[in-house]
Symmetry: C2
Subunit: 143 residues, 2 copies
DNA sequence: CTTGTATTGAAAATCATTTTCAATTAAAAT
DNA sequence: ATTTTAATTGAAAATGATTTTCAATACAAG
């Protein structure tokens, strides 16, 4: 899908879910849908204001909340506790984050189900969710 | 090891590393070394003040920093971004956290190396670290 | 175009964490 | 035991991320 189509698609999904398509939301969606790395709310705010100067940081937070609800973006947890937001990809995916530049790659194919089942057996817990992130250095940062 | 020995051991390790053994540190170590679930700084502060009423929250943060440096406690990352602290166990361990009551279990035996190597091949990244947490409901919370 | 309501953003509030700094205290040196 | 000295402490203020409040605004339905 073209990025322009992706943007249009996200806006349609917002509308189809009963939300309104507004200028600030347009600016935020444009940024997040086309970004190649995970963005922090402040980054989105700063870049977004170039497109739509009256944008408020509160609206950034609120819009990201909506987009997360709709499964269009996913939260990236940083070791320091802050959050970044990234376009959600299809299927079951996890993240590989460059500790130098913040670039993010997705990967699939982890099969944690056997592990989860073994842990359930051992502990009596009912495992509901798992959280897996890899950290490393991207090829571009090897120089 | 008995819990009293564990406490003594931690205090000795602090001293051996050139740190002083103080009343506030004693109170914090007592709590964290014997806790059965991950504690937040505020929880440690509140409980700690019963033992040593002049305890300051700043000291809780600073002491946890020291204990983490020494490898005695480990940080637990919550979905909301806040941190809790838990006695560090031996060897390569991961966490299973009860989403209801906060109880924490450790588990070992994940073999993520094949996955990490496959992802390295696919992306060109050099994987340095992984971060795995399971979330679920503990047996006691099934009622 | 009018209307009703979702949405917005400025400002203030909240919450976790860090910094500053003068007073205190543990432990090494007398 | 007393002195000395640097590490440690905690109150208060600063910081940074996120949330709440609320009156003004703008989308989209009619
Ligand atoms: Mn997975
Ligand atoms: Mn592991
Ligand atoms: Zn990089
Ligand atoms: Zn539980």
């Amino acid at each position: 899908m073209q990025t322009s189509d992706l943007i249009k698609n996200w806006l349609e999904q917002l509308q189809a879910s009963g939300y309104r398509v507004t200028e600030p939301r347009r600016a935020i969606v444009e940024l997040v849908a086309t970004a190649d790395h995970a963005l922090s709310p402040i980054e989105i705010y700063d870049s977004g204001r170039r497109e739509y100067p009256r944008l408020g940081l509160v609206t950034v937070y609120r819009t990201l909340e909506r987009l997360e609800e709709l499964g269009l973006v996913q939260r990236v947890h940083s070791p320091d506790g802050c959050h970044r937001y990234l376009r959600a990809f299809e299927g079951h995916q996890h993240l590989l984050i460059c500790t130098r530049c913040g670039r993010v790659e997705m990967f699939a194919g982890d099969d944690l189900d056997p592990l989860a089942r073994r842990v359930e057996q051992a502990t009596g817990y009912q495992v509901e969710e798992h959280w897996l992130q890899l950290f490393g250095v991207c090829p571009l940062c090897h120089a």
